[in-house]
Symmetry: C2
Subunit: 148 residues, 2 copies
DNA sequence: CATGACAGTCAAGTTCCTTGACCATATAGT
DNA sequence: ACTATATGGTCAAGGAACTTGACTGTCATG
């Protein structure tokens, strides 16, 4: 395939991600969550996976642990997260979602799903399945948040 | 398709865009361009399209014209862009790429194409074509840069 | 039990973007 | 032609999010 077409794909991926991010933010705002940013969503994603610490979150987002600590503090203060002592390590604090945190996570997931569901109008079922499979094949595990 | 699969697609798009952005940044650095950020790339994209002003750039990026002005100033000072008088409007300044600006644009495009080209190892030609077609179908014109 | 590694926080500084004010020029209304 | 309003751009100040550096407390290794 030509460089030009590869470049097209790159730009399309960027535009698509803009739509996803904006769709999530708009959906969250519509559901009453006005005090969370996309970075916080990535914190939620890690915390929901279980056994999360500030250092885990930092690695997951690709930021310093100080920055991660600030994001967590923001979410704790607003009632989305709790910090509990780690029975196995007194230095560490285990992060967990509160009821509100779970509600926000669900809302973000619904908003994300809605955004993609809207694409079904332009895409038949086979194409949507193909899109998912293609992305799954090329995406590698790693930092979730780009450095821009 | 289920909400879960839609959510998968949303997250995959985000991860793919991270790979694209990181790939471009890394490719630019490898080619000796250390003083441009992704936002500047979006400025280049608008300027290359022709007849660009600071206000155009601001609309294109979804930021204030003050922020756009600062990005442009950054690129002018480093020799990537020139500001010329607009023969049709004395208030306005027309932005244009210098030779270095064109070189940087080409480098960014090559880096983006390379990143996507690497995906060919995990994707056959039909799947790559399908990916491009699917993205093209769902992407709508609009702001290029997400608000995160 | 001493030394080094690690979890987390505090403090200060930087960067990027915002709001608000302003000037110069263009456009529309009368 | 003259005033009013809108627009292009910049300057200045403030804020939000991140960084680096220093520090405390705890774990792990010899």
């Amino acid at each position: 395939m030509s460089d030009q077409k590869h470049l097209d794909v790159a730009m399309l991926v960027l535009r698509a991600s803009t739509q996803v991010v904006d769709g999530i933010q708009h959906g969250l705002a519509r559901r009453g969550f006005h005090d969370v940013r996309p970075s916080h969503g990535f914190v939620f994603a890690r915390v929901r996976a279980g056994d999360a610490t500030v250092a885990d979150v930092a690695g997951h987002l690709g930021v310093t642990k100080q920055a991660a600590s600030q994001l967590v503090e923001h979410l704790v203060q607003r009632g989305y997260l709790t910090r509990a002592v780690d029975p196995r390590d007194a230095r560490s604090r285990l992060l967990a979602l509160t009821a509100r945190g779970r509600a926000c996570t669900r809302a973000a997931e619904q908003a994300a799903a809605e955004t993609v569901a809207a694409w079904q109008g332009q895409l038949d079922a086979a194409a949507m399945t193909g899109l998912r499979a293609a992305l799954q094949a090329v995406v590698v595990p790693g930092r979730l948040r780009p450095a821009w």
